[in-house]
Each structure stands twice: as structure tokens, then as C-alpha cells.
Amino acid sequence: MIYMDYALMFAMACFGLGLLANLWRIARGPDNPDRILALDTMVINVIALLVLYGVQRGTEIYYEAAMLVAMVGFVSTVAYSRFILRGDIIE
């Protein structure tokens, strides 16, 4: 565990900074598709952070959370894009 702790810290810092960058893009826009893209990237970064936290704690209990976030994120991205495309989610 000499290098792994540092590597974990590094990876968590990377994905945390990634979240900040996504937040900037959500605030800045300039258009709705950009915000969807930023939110989708945010979901992916959160999945990575959850998995990393699980490794740091040495427990597998966070995988269910990561799985659920992945699924909900996918559905919400598709729903939001569909809303922009058609003005309606369920046709």
C-alpha cells in the first residue's frame, strides 16, 4: 500500500477537479445541449468518485450506489435530450 494511497488521492483529486469543470460548463452554457452534456459527464465523474471511495474504505457497499447512479444518469440524459428534440418525453 505504498503507492496506492497516493494514486487514490491523485485520482480522486482528478475527478473532483473534473466535477468543478463540469459545474463551470453548466453555469456558462451557452446552450441547453451543453448543459445536458455537462450533466452527463458529471454523472460519470460521480460514478468514478463513488468507486474510488469504496476502494479507499475497502468496502463493496458503494457499488450498488454507483450502479444506480449510472442507470438513473443514463435515463435522465436521454429524457432531457428527448425533451429538447420533441418538446415532450413520452410520445
Partner: protein, 139 residues
């Protein structure tokens, strides 16, 4: 823990972290909407992939409890990444671009975002809603 396991897991973690930050950085740096679509859909899949492989190695080699959860998450992300990218691309096409900005499809029909598909008999079979379609044509 053996040193090589330590180094292997660390390498995957670092690779994952680097690709993750590059994907989010591309989202901020690139200028054009369609260009921005490239960075997250690619870089983050490998970023998360690296992290998940590292976690699988950690639980398999260090804690001796081999798990398949990570494989499922990786598979799910790789299957859904093209679909979300395609939906966002379609949203960009519909919202910010015009048919004139795009190359010709080289077919009798244009791109599906702007043009309706050709009418076939199959549409009547699967219970298409003719009333709504006619309304769309009229408007």
C-alpha cells in the same frame, strides 16, 4: 501486498484519473458544441474504465473477494455512452444547426432529425398514429 500488485493498481488509478480530468477539461476548453461532445464521451469512458479495473484488481488480489460488479458497470457505461452521445448530438442538430450546415446525405431523403422517414406499410402494422402525423405535416 506484493509490490507489483501495488504498482499495477496504482498505474490503473493514475491512468483513469488522467483520462477523467482530460475529458472534463476538454468540455471547458473546446470552442464548438459538436467538438465538445468528443471529449467527455471518449475520455471519461476510459477514465471510469481504468478506475473500475483498478477496483476489481484491488478487491480480487488484495481482499481476495473477486467481484463482477465492476464489470457490469463498465459494460453498462460502454453500452450507454454511444446512445447518450447520439441523443445529445441530435439535440444539438435540432437546436443549434440547420440542414444547410450539414453535408448532403447522398440519398433521396435528408437526415432523420429534419426529415420524416418514407412511408411504408410497416407503419400501419405497428399502430402508428396517423392523426398526429398528419398534424405534423400540416404544421
Amino acid at each position: 501486498m506484493a509490490l507489483w500488485v501495488d504498482i499495477l493498481i496504482s498505474a490503473f488509478l493514475v491512468i483513469g484519473g488522467v483520462f477523467g480530468i482530460v475529458g472534463s477539461f476538454g468540455l471547458v476548453k473546446l470552442q464548438d458544441q459538436m467538438q465538445r461532445l468528443h471529449a467527455p464521451t471518449k475520455a471519461t469512458t476510459l477514465g471510469v474504465g481504468g478506475v473500475l479495473i483498478a477496483s476489481m484488481l484491488y478487491f480480487g488480489l488484495v481482499q481476495n473477494s473477486l467481484s463482477f460488479h465492476e464489470l457490469l458497470i463498465t459494460l453498462f457505461l460502454f453500452l450507454t455512452a454511444p446512445i447518450t452521445a447520439n441523443f445529445i448530438a441530435k439535440a444539438i442538430l435540432a437546436k443549434s444547426l440547420k440542414p444547410e450546415d450539414l453535408p448532403d446525405s447522398g440519398r433521396p431523403h435528408g437526415w432523420s432529425v429534419y426529415d420524416d422517414p418514407p412511408k411504408t406499410d410497416a407503419q400501419d402494422l405497428d399502430g402508428g398514429m396517423p392523426g398526429i402525423e398528419d398534424e405534423g405535416r400540416g404544421g
